[in-house]
């Protein structure tokens, strides 16, 4: 077991802060995109790329790498930020987000960006890819790498998600771990009002998944949850991460209108200030 100490936790927390700064900067530059759900997932994604997963930016296709599938593909900024921070491409390229001819598409394109494992964006499809990847790993004998997926809580309104969850349990895919970014908001408002998928943990359990509920912003809870997933045999693990949409920027937190909105110039400056960058560091 890897060590979970104050210093390993703090190192990942620092990376999560960097991801949030990149997210705000690139969305401010792009002028459009999905801010709230990128920020809510920043701690999970930081923990995966900077503690959990075996990936090598110098060998993005190495066969035994762990795979991450961003099923909620609209949170592309958090994935791009992690890949750049990890060294898959220069951080300066993040400024090209959503611009004509740039590899950083509005939703992730595996054919254009090194380190992107699945072309996602149409909701529900990523978890299905992840199940296929986990099946492939098992067919090859198993035990060589793990597959991670990140789902949105609005996303699980898609029927395909439940087809995929059913298959993952049926085929006993204990090499698969899925996070649910449970920020409780979707474009049209609270998930409880638009189309409630609750109770989500009960549903994952009923579908045969080992299911944990944690604070998705507490690295000290994400790490042991991942350890537990590794030690679970015979079934996949779901980590229900309780999160706050827009986490880290006070004026964005818990507001559905920040689902698909990018900050303007003033808001970008304000948000970066809150994240410790700017004329008046926090």
């Amino acid at each position: 077991m890897r060590e979970i100490t104050e210093s390993t936790i703090q190192a990942v927390e620092a990376k999560a802060l960097s991801l949030r700064r990149h997210i705000i900067s690139m969305l401010g530059e792009a002028g459009s995109g999905h801010t709230g759900g990128s920020l809510s997932a920043a701690d999970i994604v930081a923990c995966l790329y900077f503690w959990e997963m075996n990936v090598d930016p110098h060998q993005p296709q190495k066969p035994d790498r762990d795979r991450f599938v961003l099923s909620k593909g609209h949170a592309a900024p958090v994935l791009y930020a992690a890949l750049a921070e990890k060294g898959f491409f220069p951080v300066t390229e993040l400024a090209g987000l959503r611009k004509l001819g740039n590899p950083l598409q509005g939703h992730p394109d595996m054919r254009k960006v090194p380190g992107v494992e699945a072309s996602t964006g149409s909701l529900g499809q990523g978890i299905s890819w992840a199940v296929g990847m986990a099946l492939a790993e098992k067919m090859n004998g198993g035990g060589s790498y793990r597959i991670y997926a990140l789902l949105g809580d609005g996303e699980i309104e898609e029927g395909l998600v439940w087809e995929a969850l059913m298959a993952a349990a049926h085929y006993k895919l204990d090499n698969l771990t899925a996070f649910l970014d449970h920020n409780r908001l979707q474009i049209d408002g609270p998930i409880s009002q638009v189309m409630s998928p609750e109770p989500v943990a009960d549903k994952f359990r009923a579908f045969g998944w080992e299911t944990l509920v944690i604070d998705g912003h507490d690295i000290g809870q994400i790490m042991p949850a991942l350890e537990l997933a590794r030690s679970t045999h015979g079934r996949p693990t779901a980590i229900i991460a309780e999160t706050i949409k827009g986490k880290g920027c006070s004026f964005m937190e818990n507001k559905a209108e920040w689902h698909g909105t990018a900050p303007n110039r003033e808001q970008t400056i304000q948000a970066l200030k809150e994240l410790g960058i700017g004329p008046e560091p926090v």
């Binding site: 529900g124 499809q125 492939a136």
Partner: protein, 311 residues
Amino acid sequence: MEKQATRDAYGKALVELGRKYSDVVVLDADLSKSTKTADFAKIFPNRFINAGIAEQNMMGMAAGLAASGKVPFASSFAIFATGRAFEIVRNSLAYANLSVKICATHAGITVGEDGGSHQSVEDLAIMRCVPNITVVAPADGTSTRKAVEAVYHHSGPVYLRLGRPAVPVLYDESLDFQIGRGIELRGGKDATLIGCGIMVAKCLEAADRLREQGIDVSVVDMHTIKPIDRDLIARKAHDTGAILTVEEHSVLGGLGGAVCEVVCEQFPVPVMRMGIEDRFGQSGTPDELLEYYGLSVDMIVANTRILVSKK
């Protein structure tokens, strides 16, 4: 005349393919006895995945398998593979340009007694307009076996359209099957019959009858609908001056549409499209349905005579 259903040939070809290539995996959605993937499942249980009655997830899982280095063959009835699962095929397979082979059986009205809900008359049109997807509709058992090998080696997503009923075997093992290259089965000067799938055999039969009536037609097996063999179509338009297309599919957007797109741009001549007029199928035997929807040898002969008279 020897007969074989293209779905039967597919099932046998899959087993051969599985023996030759260890990266071949097969998915089905609870129809393996009908699509004939069951033989592969029996011999290679570790490389067969039953998705259950969940075609969308079957295609999504196929994407993940392909992204992990496998070559998945995903089978269901044409209506579900291209209809129910369309947007997963579009975004997860085609957009990502993954080497997944969508091999759908029970295409067209010759599904028969199950009726219109299960008879896909629009799959060629749907698949043809999606970027990156290659569309193949083989005419007989031999060309199906060759097509299965060819699509395995082809990089990118492929839609292979297969049928339920036994149809005449037209080719022997010497067939040189190449994706994108139509096969000129017979030369002729008065018109060209371009068919695909199970209608190719009917075109050949019609050509025999027409010859007895003094009309000399060429017959082409246009097994690849996309990318279509533009050179062959243009040459036949030039050499024979009239084209009749015949497909077990809607007259909108399939083989007939594809041929017209080439003819109007490269060498305009009269074209007549035979297929299912813009409507759904219904229950009946395959032969009754082909007759009812105007896809009989008699109708090919009659339409060719009209077409030739317009030249």
